[in-house]
Subunit: 147 residues, 4 copies
């Protein structure tokens, strides 16, 4: 599990005075970079030196509580599924000052050669970095304990 | 069904040179405003004069094809479900120059008094505006033809 | 002189409810693209096909009146100086509904090969496009009438 | 003098792959908040509890070197002039990894009651906070040493 703190910036609110819903995905993307912190140079080096990126093929958010300028959110993230080229990430955002649940998000990103914009099997070190944060999903049809 | 055109701005791409995935939600939000065009003053007057807004409680996107600076997307939108305070919207984005499918999105927004940040039943004129774009959903458990 | 209209988007305000001051530069950049509309494919083709861009070396704004969601600004722009590689642009923003003066801006952009990020003398067609919008500046040290 | 560090986010670049010039003003605005760190609750409390904000009336930037994803900039800031309602701020950005000069910026902000959007004389504690960072400007017409 990774943890990432993010303060709301002055210009990230909308007309209602709360953080614009689309920005939550940027916050989660910042948090996603933490999964790669154990690699040399982190996500930055993956992108800049190896031209490996992770475009989203799916993203969803359930919004529980609005946040405002002055709030800091704690984002925790897990890898919930890891395929050959795709990874599923779940994120939970809570407000630091009162632990209120802000949002739960789910992203699916695909390992990509961003020069060619072509899918790429996870290189072994990248896969290993993600496996460290992989949590077992509850099986879709778990057998009954006594069955 | 509403239709909205949106050109990609110079600064809306990310390091991979494609529109950052979080921005699609802002594009869809722009399109959402079209549902209210028949109301006097449109969405702007709803927000600025009546303090009615529609914060998202859910948003999801399935990304099919990246878009870049110079692309224009056509966004079509439907209301797929309409409750007392919540509306479900679906959006389909296609690239204008070649009709490539860019993304499909689903948002759930809640009618809200944005001064009090409290839920509000849709006022009749707002509900009527949305009903004009309501499409029937396939029933979740349709009876078999011969049952 | 070019003219460009721009509506304020829902998420472009800040905590004070007015368009965040940094965004004005993005608005002016959108307007800048109009100077190249007479070239085939416009600014988009310059960037995407010829890899020519215009990074800013200077930008300044004087803010006269705040703008809010629902406002539309009219941006007029002139080329005030044209060197071998650099162009000076001035922009005046007014609010469409009441002609209030919103801001005056001055940008200096340098013609650049954006793959190499190296200065480039304006190609003849680009220079011609800009010359069409060039206004004479008052001379810095105009000779006295009787001198 | 205040100091502020800021990492370039993945989505803050433009088509040329460098941080979009308008974003520098947001970076400097983040740094500006540091001038108020000695006040209880900092800039956030000024805005959220006392409804005091500092809209810009002028902003300018001289760009010296582009920055990219992965770069971190150090922003140092001074108050260069302090009037009854207006403050002049200067900012210098350098890239942390190699101390390259990235940009120099100058902002003029006006103390404002952001509910009424009306000018406000600096409250004494706000003025004191800014005075701590006030540097003497070179006099416009300094007398010659030997004159």
């Amino acid at each position: 599990m990774i943890t990432h703190l993010r303060a709301v910036h002055f210009e990230e609110v909308d007309v209602a005075g709360v953080v614009f819903f689309a920005r939550f995905f940027g916050y989660a993307h910042d948090a996603m970079e933490r999964f790669f912190d154990d690699l040399e140079g982190g996500y930055v080096a993956l992108v800049n030196k190896r031209s490996i990126g992770f475009p989203a093929v799916h993203a969803s958010a359930d919004y529980k509580s609005p946040i405002r300028y002055g709030d800091v959110v704690r984002i925790t993230g897990d890898v919930t599924r890891l395929g050959t080229t795709a990874a599923h990430f779940s994120f939970v955002m809570t407000r630091v000052r009162d632990a209120v649940h802000v949002a739960t998000m789910m992203h699916v990103h695909v390992c990509t050669d961003i020069r060619a914009m072509a899918k790429l099997a996870f290189p072994p070190d990248v896969r290993a970095a993600l496996e460290r944060h992989l949590v077992p999903s509850p099986p879709a049809s778990a057998p009954l304990a006594d069955a």
